[in-house]
């Protein structure tokens, strides 16, 4: 029995080359959809990693400043150049941040950093603080706890 598929240069009969092209395109479109999905997942994962690292660095900076000053308003001022008078006496500050963890206005906000004094002892000389990062929906993405003890007569060894 002869195959119905024949190579022909003139129209009207099935062209083997076109048939192959159609099959190849179909397979390629399915394969590329799967591969594209993998690329998108890798890109999203990479973006999340960068965001986690930025949050971690930002939290470290805040923790170091807080351990030196013992004051969250001052921490916000040094870290984000926000006027500390706005938060004088506050025990909780919510700071909107953009994706690079810079203080931002509400237009390009993608994160919220919350600094909250959770404990205060010894007449306020010892303070514990929780630093947390939340997304738009309020899900906690990262958080650390830190503390500051600022006695009146402490001298750091590298200041001697």
């Amino acid at each position: 029995m002869r195959s119905p598929i024949k190579v022909a240069s003139k129209g009207g009969r099935l062209n083997l080359f076109l048939l192959e092209m159609i099959i190849v395109l179909l397979f390629f479109s399915v394969a590329s959809a799967v591969i594209l999905k993998a690329f998108v997942a890798a890109d999203r994962m990479s973006a999340e990693n960068i965001r986690l690292e930025r949050m971690s660095f930002c939290a470290q900076s805040a923790a170091e400043i807080f351990s030196d000053t013992g004051d969250i308003a001052e921490t916000a001022e040094i870290l984000f150049e926000i006027d500390s008078e706005r938060f004088e006496g506050a025990t909780r500050i919510d700071i909107p941040l953009d994706e690079k963890c810079n203080y931002s206005y509400l237009k390009d906000v993608s994160l919220f950093m919350t600094m909250k004094v959770t404990e205060s002892e010894y007449e306020g000389k010892f303070k514990a603080m929780n630093i947390s990062f939340k997304d738009d929906e309020g899900n906690v993405l990262y958080e650390i706890n830190t503390a500051a003890y600022v006695p009146e007569r402490t001298v750091l060894f590298d200041e001697e």
């Binding site: 192959e20 390629f28 990479s46 923790a63 010892f126 830190t146 003890y149 060894f157």
Partner: protein, 151 residues
């Protein structure tokens, strides 16, 4: 005799071969980028987790510091047995009396391998933080690292 001429253009099968090659290349690239992102994720999570553990330990060490300093503030004589008795009640604190005051040290665990070693010196003139660093194990190394100091 009849002349047989082959049609010009790409022959049958070349397209399939090219497609297989391209799909294989793309699959390999996708797998590589995914595995790179995955290993990066593990590293970022480890780093973030370590930061969290470090600051938890740092906060605990500062809490101990606050306790010690507040007790010391109530005494003038740092060899007073009442003062030393109160220090004994704080977990992990060891002390050594000096002619001018007292040296107090403690370690706070960060994880299974690392600790924060803290040492303070209390004298009549105040409290000096003489050491506050991350160490491997429980005992700080006395010998400094043999590094070039640029001299």
């Amino acid at each position: 005799m009849k002349n047989k001429t082959r049609p010009a253009g790409i022959g049958t099968g070349y397209l399939s071969l090219m497609m297989i090659f391209v799909v294989l290349c793309l699959t390999m690239l996708a797998a590589l980028s995914f595995s790179a992102a995955e290993s990066e994720r593990k590293y970022s999570e480890k780093s973030a987790e370590y930061t969290k553990s470090y600051y938890d330990a740092d906060a605990a060490a500062k809490r101990t510091f606050a306790k010690v300093a507040e007790i010391a503030a109530e005494y003038d004589d740092y060899s007073d047995f009442m003062f030393l008795g109160e220090l004994d009640m704080i977990d992990g604190v060891s002390y050594e009396s000096t002619p001018v005051g007292i040296e107090i040290s403690w370690t706070t665990p960060i994880n299974d391998r690392q600790n924060i070693y803290s040492q303070i010196k209390i004298t009549k003139s105040g409290i000096d933080i003489t050491d506050w660093r991350t160490i491997q194990g429980n005992v700080p190394e006395e010998e400094p690292l043999n590094v070039w100091l640029g001299e």
